[in-house]
Point group: C4
Chain length 209, copies 4
């Protein structure tokens, strides 16, 4: 795992375009499957015809949870997409960290199910927050590593530096901060996330405007 | 999300072929998984050997629902395929709308299951219609956006303009129109869809013939 | 769907390499998911620790069914791979037929589950045979269409002609022939398939040797 | 299946880049799905709100099993990635063996579920060991075949020779050796795997340092 200082384990993108494409394809595959598995959380119990409309309407929290997690995984994918598009090379270390990142993304359908079923007890939103904070933190770590190891195309360095903060550190902080909040007001935690993320996005847009 | 008038967030396809390929691959992955998950709706209850043939035959509505949704997702995929094949560039906005589109496609295995289980109550075909009308509407929106933002290769503009109507507006209108129909004759709604779509296809073929 | 005699709906591979790659990627995605979903048929009932070894051993027909269907989908994929590798162009018609082909492949995890659970009643092996005969028949149809429409690279024409017979017609005939067999000896039908396929393979190897 | 001595069934990578890319894409697809299906083993029983935290905490062995198998499939993928990246050609035989390899990888979500549910009886860790030893053995077989058939790029021969031992033979030996161990101390078998793999990794790093 240790890398030689001379960067012997680094490959430039030109040298290894096929391998680069393959890492990206594997990542996209895993994220595409994780986002699609969200639909398995929508389940209608066997009921009589006369009760099915009511049952479907009572599924609304599951639809909300589906929508939230679709947006969450979608944004992770957009961020990963922008990050990998900026790389001029990659390292074995980056591939390993990318797998760690994916292992957290793959948990999202499960944490979505728990959030949907147990959103009014602290453990539902806390488990969700831990996984999202973890994935955001690992995304930040990948951004920092690529910047420090000089794996980012020069013209993309400012953009990736900002993305490391905006898409890595800020969501990590928001989801960590939501954990004590969830202990007191579990049912309101999704509102907390929404307000905090929108505020952060607005501040970021103003700062970079 | 706001785009600069000068199109700073647009990328031409040549500049960003890898990223373009990746959006397409992610979309294809999600649609491939959604179409394959349809098979999970085919489920045989545990029965004795002597009753299995009868049980399988009584699954025929599930096979019909499988076939309908396979055709539906298949046609969405063919349409998306033709649309993306005509692009000379893309925008961040298009990527976001594409995710919205996918979030509706991914719901189809669920709405298929509901249609199969509760096709004789209005909510079954209505839920199905809402999702298909939504996905068709978003497909239309993507086509319009690409035409207006000059993202379509010049030689493909007439084809995409027609596709926006034929594959976007027309199915949206048909599935919206089927909602009041389903309130009165839920079980006949699939027939309504079939007749309307075939008629529309014939008119379109005559108009363009 | 009708194609102009002049082949206006045909595209050569060079003209549309991206679209070609996308059809292949979508097909591969669907087949990869279908082959992986086979594992969902392996299910261990909740039992006490002392009974789990016996339960696992009694799952052997499910493992056999898993192995058979893995080989079946694997061979379909190898055949599709060889066929698409020989194309110099494709048609809209071919894309539609390819979707029909996929809709049969996607059924295999379901028919495998039925074969595993009800292999000793005719309906289990018959349902399996119908789907495999259908997929083989559609594969043959795709091969014929490509040969007739001049979509195959000249140097591959003899190979694809032979493949149309060996991988299309022969398995179709074998699985159709196994249907009356299954009505009388359902449990022996997998043996029938194995013997017939091995014999056909040997005759084919001798004929082409 | 028999190959002519002159290597008539071998294709160089240049001749058949599309086909090569497709084998890789199919493999990546299957491995991406298998790694993502691991999340389906995490299931929370329906409980009252007051008991959900306890239930989630009692799921820790399932999380550990998830993490182990994510690392296992991830490492198989990294190894496959490095191996295929070194090839200058491939054979029909290699494609068939690759399918056998995949059929073992796809079993991992199932064996993970059994390991999680029945880790304290020998059959849980033994089934897991058999599948991992099998997949490692097949990986070794693919490496040997490619080296003997001269399918590896000359500059990669030493690396692949070492990988055949380190990633093929050594894990095969470790997981085979763990089978008698599991008969006596089933619950400790994951510790056995971890200690043996880390020790082997350290020895390998020293030998190649």
């Amino acid at each position: 795992m240790a890398e030689s200082p001379a960067g012997a384990t680094h490959q430039t993108r030109g040298e290894a375009e096929t391998e680069f494409a393959r890492i990206v394809a594997f990542t996209d595959g895993v994220m595409a499957i994780a986002i699609t598995l969200l639909v398995l959380n929508l389940e209608l119990p066997d009921v009589t015809d006369s009760r099915v409309t009511g049952e479907l309407l009572s599924l609304w929290p599951a639809f909300v949870a589906y929508a939230i997690s679709f947006v969450v995984i979608g944004r992770f994918w957009l961020g990963h997409h922008a990050f990998f598009g900026s790389l001029k090379g990659f390292s074995r270390h980056l591939m390993t960290v990318n797998l760690l990142y994916l292992s957290l993304i793959v948990l999202i359908p499960f944490t979505t199910d728990v959030l949907d079923g147990y959103g009014s007890v602290p453990v539902g939103p806390i488990l969700y927050s831990v996984v999202i904070a973890g994935a955001s933190g690992v995304a930040w770590w990948m951004n920092r590593h690529a910047l420090q190891q000089n794996l980012v195309q020069p013209e993309d360095v400012p953009r990736i530096s900002r993305a490391a903060a905006a898409r890595g550190l800020v969501p990590t902080a928001i989801f960590v901060a939501s954990i004590p909040f969830a202990l007191v007001f579990p049912s309101w935690t999704p509102i907390f996330w929404g307000v905090a993320l929108l505020t952060a996005g607005r501040l970021d847009a103003r700062a970079s405007g």
